[in-house]
Symmetry: C3
Subunit: 681 residues, 3 copies
Amino acid sequence: MTERNYLWKGFPHILHGGDYNPDQWTGTPQIQEEDMRLMKLANCNEMTLGIFAWAKLEPEEGKFDFSFMDRAMDMIAENGGRVILATPSGARPAWLSQKYPEVLRTNADRTVNLHGRRHNHCFTSPVYRKKTAEINARLAQRYKGHPALLMWHISNEYGGECHCAMCREAFRDWLKRKYKTLDALNEQWWTYFWAHTYTDWSQIEPPSPLGESSTHGLTLDWKRFVTDQTIDFMKNEISVLKEITPDVPVTTNLMGFYQGLDYRKLAKELDAVSWDNYPVWRGNEISDIELASDTALIHDLNRSLLGKPFMMMESTPSHVNWHTYNKLKRPGQHMLSSLQAVAHGSDSVQYFQWRKSRGSSEKFHGAVVDHVGHENTRVFREVAELGKRLGKLDCIVGTTTVSKVALLYDWSNNWAIDDAQGFQRNDKKVMRTIRKHYRPLWRRGINTDVIGFDDDFSKYSLIIAPMIYTVSEELENKISDYVSRGGIILCTYMTGMVNENDLCHLGGFPAGRLKDVFGLWNEEIDTLYPDESNKVYAAGREYKAVDYCEIVHPTSAETIAEYGSDFYSGESAATVNNYGKGRAYYVAFRDEGDFTDTLTEALLKEAGVASEFDGALPNGVTAHSRTDGETIYVFLENYSMQSQSAYTGFTWSTADSGEVINGEISLKPYETLILSRKLTK
Amino acid sequence: MTERNYLWKGFPHILHGGDYNPDQWTGTPQIQEEDMRLMKLANCNEMTLGIFAWAKLEPEEGKFDFSFMDRAMDMIAENGGRVILATPSGARPAWLSQKYPEVLRTNADRTVNLHGRRHNHCFTSPVYRKKTAEINARLAQRYKGHPALLMWHISNEYGGECHCAMCREAFRDWLKRKYKTLDALNEQWWTYFWAHTYTDWSQIEPPSPLGESSTHGLTLDWKRFVTDQTIDFMKNEISVLKEITPDVPVTTNLMGFYQGLDYRKLAKELDAVSWDNYPVWRGNEISDIELASDTALIHDLNRSLLGKPFMMMESTPSHVNWHTYNKLKRPGQHMLSSLQAVAHGSDSVQYFQWRKSRGSSEKFHGAVVDHVGHENTRVFREVAELGKRLGKLDCIVGTTTVSKVALLYDWSNNWAIDDAQGFQRNDKKVMRTIRKHYRPLWRRGINTDVIGFDDDFSKYSLIIAPMIYTVSEELENKISDYVSRGGIILCTYMTGMVNENDLCHLGGFPAGRLKDVFGLWNEEIDTLYPDESNKVYAAGREYKAVDYCEIVHPTSAETIAEYGSDFYSGESAATVNNYGKGRAYYVAFRDEGDFTDTLTEALLKEAGVASEFDGALPNGVTAHSRTDGETIYVFLENYSMQSQSAYTGFTWSTADSGEVINGEISLKPYETLILSRKLTK
Amino acid sequence: MTERNYLWKGFPHILHGGDYNPDQWTGTPQIQEEDMRLMKLANCNEMTLGIFAWAKLEPEEGKFDFSFMDRAMDMIAENGGRVILATPSGARPAWLSQKYPEVLRTNADRTVNLHGRRHNHCFTSPVYRKKTAEINARLAQRYKGHPALLMWHISNEYGGECHCAMCREAFRDWLKRKYKTLDALNEQWWTYFWAHTYTDWSQIEPPSPLGESSTHGLTLDWKRFVTDQTIDFMKNEISVLKEITPDVPVTTNLMGFYQGLDYRKLAKELDAVSWDNYPVWRGNEISDIELASDTALIHDLNRSLLGKPFMMMESTPSHVNWHTYNKLKRPGQHMLSSLQAVAHGSDSVQYFQWRKSRGSSEKFHGAVVDHVGHENTRVFREVAELGKRLGKLDCIVGTTTVSKVALLYDWSNNWAIDDAQGFQRNDKKVMRTIRKHYRPLWRRGINTDVIGFDDDFSKYSLIIAPMIYTVSEELENKISDYVSRGGIILCTYMTGMVNENDLCHLGGFPAGRLKDVFGLWNEEIDTLYPDESNKVYAAGREYKAVDYCEIVHPTSAETIAEYGSDFYSGESAATVNNYGKGRAYYVAFRDEGDFTDTLTEALLKEAGVASEFDGALPNGVTAHSRTDGETIYVFLENYSMQSQSAYTGFTWSTADSGEVINGEISLKPYETLILSRKLTK
């Protein structure tokens, strides 16, 4: 039994708006007036204010000027809108770098950055923490209770790392807390190799092109430290806000599967997750359908981080300016890709940016209002049309997503594989593999959560866990318990080779009890060249193996696929093992083709998981649902460039227009239908 | 009515010679004797002396030794030749760097170079300016009035930039002079974006990989500063020479469309323009004909810089050693490519180098005299044969070029586009586009000038101005005036998006009045992937659009081509607008194929511009003319590897041999005929 | 008349073993017990101990702990094995870098490395020399006379270079010793070019991306200095060992044609040469047969360095972890590739590594014992099977190789060509050319030595000397003498262009007397593009020329091949010249196809050199021999994946099993037969 989960208070609408920078236009106040007129025309109800406004807010140290922000807050409130107010730490004024050079970031090669760009600060610097807390406090004190203030947007796209002396010392302290003794650290990092044993904590340096780069435990811990130090910095930003405005929720904008931070840890400190979504739509049916699935995966990740609705904090109404080729969104793509976010749990459709900047780096990034300055553009019209439709979707706000299938993805695991010296050395293709396993779920309209090693497994009937290379004892037990209690799991080649610190499991792979869970052991892993492949036979069909073929020895497992060539022809290529009340599948090779799809279909059936839409889904059409426990809302999305038909046995009404729908359902190219019906209890 | 324009005094011959380095052979004086014998055999009348000779001229600080140069000057004079004498600032002695480290160049990443290479100095350093002025003064004092001294060759291929503290301070001073106030600078650079507002001049740093790289106004101004600072350094070199030898003209050797300096500004300080010409001839007909056109374009640029004859200061008689593949010039290519320079206005054919260096970096660069040391080589014979022919062309010296067509090319505009964040991000292909528009003119034998935004437009009947992205108010007015008074102009996609400081024009594109001139506005620009294209239909023919398709809305313009596919199928792809007494063409897409050629032909007809040769030109054959106002000299050049025929209605005589030519004219592979006839007044 | 040449004393067996690191497992002593059990099962008789064990041996400065090593030495001795004991200088403890930062390596860009990685030390540092000498002395004193001690393994894979102030000063001293005067240096480096003349020794800096990189003489001498300084460091390591254990031979492990050091010089200081062999076997017949030839070439190089048996110090029983794609060795490949080493003169088959490391960089590098820890793996079984066979080959130990053909390869020459500015600038393909010339010898089963410019030429009937670009006066005379006394030589394009310091030979190419030896001179070298080729006709057949076509003029030489197209069609493409009692062949072009093979066959015939096996060799099968002067041992190796047949006229017995063999001989896929017969005197 689910309930609505609201991300903010007192404004039960899908947010439609985005980054708004009147601080760039203080010299032309009439522009701000015009913005208000256009926002209404565009059916926008929200603006995100103050990102990168520090230089305007505090032009000299200690001298503040909130006039542009006062005016914007007031005008938006008067127009019935709301503001997500940003803290400005993503880029600081030049005077700050000049007076306090310690805030400048130091690179891995020990060069120190000059002032410039953004996201160019040390996360450890006491000065920078003090200065950001001060400006945050000023903002909170000034706008506490302002009718427009809906939420805090903490900094912007946190990322990067700093190697200054303060950060290096903080890293050593982090390591002391983790390992307690140097002996323990030496053991876990296996520094006995190449005489790398540390005899004093002060000898430890972060990974650097000038120094150590192949002690994998060090590299992995450094990445973890970077996440923790960033969180620590963020908490420093948040705490002052919470003190002054305890009821205003906080978020920060994430960047999908960004590899620089473990978002699962970071999200724990937020009231809401939001992210910046810039898929490379091309108006090419084949690549766009694949992209739709890949984007859906990221939406699912963001929703799963806190297990509730999220926000699409940024997207573009037309094109960006930083892709290699910056193509226009085709007519209709904007509506479709915006509703995709909502389908997966977003309670907002927000843009970077409201009005195109007049100069500098992002002046050609798409925006609602173009340099031409008026509303008579295709992009503006499409935004306004979408805004109108979102305005009819209050029923969706706060509804949640129920999934019986989970895809397991862990940042540390990905870092460790990418850093592994071996296999196909330059690209292990973790993300591609994750996307490959997600695709069969997407095209069947299966609600899916994307969870981490520490999340609760028991909610799911089926867990798909590709390439879980790092397996701690805790995870080993957790998988074992999950399966023994009736769960179905699918793992692959490279499962359980190392522990959480990248130290190999002795006694062979997969680690410890997993050999019983899967009923096999893995003797060797053959790495194939890109021009090579093997054949795999299963249930009378031939499949194709690429990249990796493990040679595994079933003990209790049943073989469900076998290799068709090379010296291990006839050996097991995939197996299933009954373990306790559950079933554990092991796919020993990398599939290029249909094997994953076919197997996933069988597993869904075995797990009793069905599509969110009761009819068959044609190519390029998918379905995802949200619910408040009483009504289910199914988004039927057509990513193909053709009209498509689907058949339903239910009678639905559309959530936005109330139209009754049953039997054959027609979808125009790029069309999304939002169907609703009462759930039977 | 033109007149002869002589670049130097008292030597009315085409120069034939090149870089001569007896300073490398002082240990073997007999080599210098042999050089004199060989120069006569090679029909050379000029040598360029002293480039990179500083270490020989001043082996210790303040201790000078001009003996090798005295001897060379005297011997050449005795043999009736002339010397272009170089200042040696392109590479300094090691003792100078050792004693005065401030002269060493600092890189953008703030690392400081060691001594070594060449062109490795700070253009701001007072010490380096003092030292170069001193050695220049010594040279001028010593050789003032020497019968061999023809001209000064200032330094060598100026280029590069320095980021030392002195240069950074000079940059700030330059900015203060340009913008007067920080407010004005902040406005033009739009530093309001990302909180980049400067509150003190000292906060400004040049672009750097360690700091700012995306404030486009900063980057653009830095490039302008580099040009101005280089000019300032060069003027410091020149002034001392002019004081002592006021009648000896100065030049420096340029490098085509080199992107490091705005040559149009630099040329203003010179008496003559010269350049170093190293096309990659391959002996492959298709690529060589294209290359011939591309090389002709650069010759035209160099002639247009000062609007008079120029010099080909360097070229190779065989091959270079720094191309990726250093292929031999095929027999005949040397004669052809040398005469091409003369056809476009060069009054010299000069080589790097007379004699191959025995060691170090360029020892395998082609030369007139090879390591074998004698004259019995193919290369030597071809050089001597060319020298003989040039000796018969005194009639050409000082004649000028009359063009009714101009191609608009501006360095700042190119810098700004290349740096633009958007479109096809990694390569905007400005130069390729310029070459594409030049090609139809070249293959039709049309004399063409290559002019800048500040040049006089009124001389031309037709101006072709592709991709003029930066349009100042001044340029906007200039174009408007030119067309309204009867001029024909062709512009393309990306016209007039930003002002001269890369700040977007509000109110839409193209900028301001240009919307009236072209009778349209440009709503969106679609960037295509390399594997994509659109169709364009014009006058019943199909063309191909790639890379960019603008969606423009004609207001008063007439559509002359329309798109054939995608969501803007049927929209205008090219237009023409009557404006005042003139006509303004706008091509909204990038052409891959014949559209440019077909349109150019129509424009030439409309502008009443005809070929320099009265007959049809077969494939690979072109014609360019020079004149003294009474006689016209037409160079008929065959770049194909086939014999070709052309037909003329005039009666010509050849300039070198006086042979009478009319009716059918035969051209052997690689042959150049130089036709002359009296002009009828 | 040859004799056996033993590399070590008192253990007349092929060594079978490898790198053993009990220092990584001191926390689990039972692992060391298990290692002894497994070594016997694997039929191993040797372990290499102590590489990278410094941190364990000297955990604090001056505090030593040899316990793990004592135990290992004793246990191995008890089991009848022997130990090759390593000095630990390849990686030092962290405390050493921390206390004495001068030992850290400085890069060419003058950045100083942090502690970390390995091979990261200055070869000049007095501190590092003192510290390595001290630990070496400790080892020698402790294990002097230990029954297990067979040999010293000095450091590990010496390589790299340091640019610190001490190294720069040492380089200047080296130059002073070589050139005596700056004048001589300036002349040889031709610093007259670009005013690079040095007027004080202190002005000389090593090549650097921040400074000089195109004074080729400087670059070449720097590389020579790096070799000499590394040797000097190595001798510092060796001398202390020789003092204490004068009878224990020393080796260090080389890396094939590694370009960082001139191994020919370094080998002179060793008692035995050993090398680390990691070919990229793929289980692809075409590429594996080519690879077999390329690997054989390196074995021949290593044997030729000291002209006696060598050791294969490292190889992998399965796969490595640092190739781009780390594929498994196919069943049988391990036996074959191991016996290949023995066929070419190795008296050992050794592995990196005995037991897989548990963590850090090389944990996935193949090993005899896998993480699973037991003997029931395919890899272990193949190792044990090989060990058993090697155990029957005592008869091979110390036998030597007799070659009548030599391939000339010189490190300095390769460095100079690679650095040459000209030709195909980015890749001159020296090694590919060497391999191309070796292949016809390999496939015909011809014993071949790989010798340097300083080696004795008189032993050979045929010398193949491709691309000998640097020819000193001494070499010029040596070649001339060799041919005049009856030798046959084959040289190619680019022969004799520069002297030993990269200074061009005046008077043309090839240098001086070589023009007489080859009876021609070389006027020009045409460099082709990768998409171009020329035809060559010889004896009625057509061949293909790529990359380089020299235009040579025979004086006395006879043309044996001529060009078929381009402007030099009909000119000589290959020649032979009678000179004294010998014959000098010159191939003026680069062959892509069969020309080299066909010509080599003719030359072998002319030189009277025959295969080591009397019958014809099918595709992928080759033969190489070793002998003690009385018996010849012929290794018949099948690299194809097919069964193959060969026919012999002799009666042989197999060296390992004593089986009689004659007539038709069958070889299974990947099989090696070791045939022996008495030589008739």
